[in-house]
Amino acid sequence: DTIKVGVIGPFSGPFALQGKNFKAGIDAYMAVNGNTVGSDTVEIVYRDVPQADPAQSKALAQELIVKEKVQYLAGFYFTPDAMAVTPILKQGNVPMVIMNAATSAIVTKSPLVVRTSFTTWQTSTPIAKVAFDAGVKKVISVVSDYGPGIDAENAFKAGFEKAGGQVVEAIRMPLATNDFSPIMQRIKDSGAEGVFAFLPSGPTTLGFVKAYNDNGLKAAGIKFFAPGDLTQESDLPALGDAALGIQTTFHYAVSHDSPENKAFVEAATKAIGNKAELSFPSVSAYDGMYVIYKMIEATGGKQDAEKAVDAVKGLAWTSPRGPVSIDPESRHITQNIYLREVVKADDGTYINKEVQTFEKQGDPGLAAVK
């Protein structure tokens, strides 16, 4: 039989790169592991939601379930897109595997949700400890003013204050900020010794990092901390030397040194066509497919969402990013978070080099919001 998996993501528009990474991860998995599970053939049906648009996302999910008869829904780059679909999972008898959307609360909306990516809380909490350990006691936090940014701000603040540091100021700036000079001026004036920043990966990070250098903050010794969204690999060539030395915490670096990752990077590069475009959503998609394959195995290809989800609760395996497991309670992925530093590799490309590992991190966000 053919088992269809519906994947909803941003395949065109401003976030096309991330959608492309979804596809690369999925293609890579199927290239390595074949497109059959038992006697069933797995087929992927892609649907495009270029920007956060819950209504569109829901309409497409409905279409995928009712018309395309998909047994699994996956993808979901933006939180509201995932949120919109959770109410129909039960009736549709379809599990949902989230490959990006990083707000903690989504998993609470339906028991049929499994997440193989990360949450902003998860990746932002360890950097607080890193900052404190680096001897920085006063930090200013600068985030983009939207859901994930606010999550990042809260996560950092919670972690940093627990460690004993002080967040002297918390700035939220509009998503569509082009010129960061005034922000840099604010940072300077705040008297902080370090800055914690969160911006969505993409064009604006370039301006931010450049402004950080150009306005003399780097020279002034103000340290820079951020979760890895800021230095995603596909942005690094553009950031160039400006990013050198920036420390970020994240769940995955393309340069991660393990045989699993080598195999993954090779397959994913082939799928995406250009290694420079490879970024973190690909690995979540890859692991998402792993989970879906396990679900298909467990249900023998029959459509039974509950059984499928139950089967992967507690599942543990070695992902390209390192050892991971699905937390049976929250159905969110437990994984290592790495501290990385941007360095120039021998071949002249820029990479996130892992320098420290925080093992088996769960999602602190869920507890924090509760």
Binding site: D179, S181, L206
Partner: protein
Amino acid sequence: MQTVFSIAVDAFAYGMVLFVISIGLSVTMGLMRVVNLAHGAFAMIGGYIASYVARDLGLGYAAAVIAAVVITIIVAIPIECFLYRRIYGAPELTQVLMTIGITFCVIGIANYVMGPTLKTIPLPAALQGSADLGFRTIPVHRLFVILCGLAVALALWFAVDRTSFGVKQRASVDDAAMAAALGVRTDIIYAVSFAVAVGLAAFGGVVGAELLPVEPYYALRYMVTFLVVVSVGGAGSIPGALIACLLLGAIDTTGRYLMPEFGEFFFYLAVIAIICVFPRGLAGRVK
């Protein structure tokens, strides 16, 4: 006090960048009366060409700028002939439809050909680094953009207000049929104006790339910004556009400094206030 100066410098520099990038749009929109939503698309094409020439071919920055402007104009010629020529004088909404269509196509093609990642244009050593102003530093590149902005403003103002081409150009826009009846070759005038606008777009795309990095979605991402500064200035007025860019740059920068979380509010409230007071833009010509 130092902070005030510092903000002022940032504001001025940002305003000039806005000016350089959007002035081409003032030409199409004010002087040719075409609501050209594809302005960003041409700027982006320029950026891609410059990036290719400077990074992949390894030629110099100057070569990249020139190549960007020239090739973008060459690319634009058929687009003008077959598409824009059909919408001169058409209702605004038709123009919106056509130019959005063009933008979509350019985005799609850029995404396909160049890939979805950011492209940078390496700066020459002379433009890298920061200059010391005494009380603070400022990236040399910003100073360069400021100079470019002033030069463009002056040259354009001269061409439009002081040359016979400028007079004929404005006449053609006011009433193309009558201008033709008086012997003005309106199609040539339009083609040349369009080439100038596109060339300026490409130029702005290249020199502004430090602030607005080049990627496929560039064409839509900054569309609103361009539209806003040009209209607030009063489409077609070079001094108006300059003042608007500096003013909005200042508001944006100050707002972002004082209350970053309400940055957008300040900016758009200022836009609304200005237009309510000057319904034709700061220096809008009477129709």
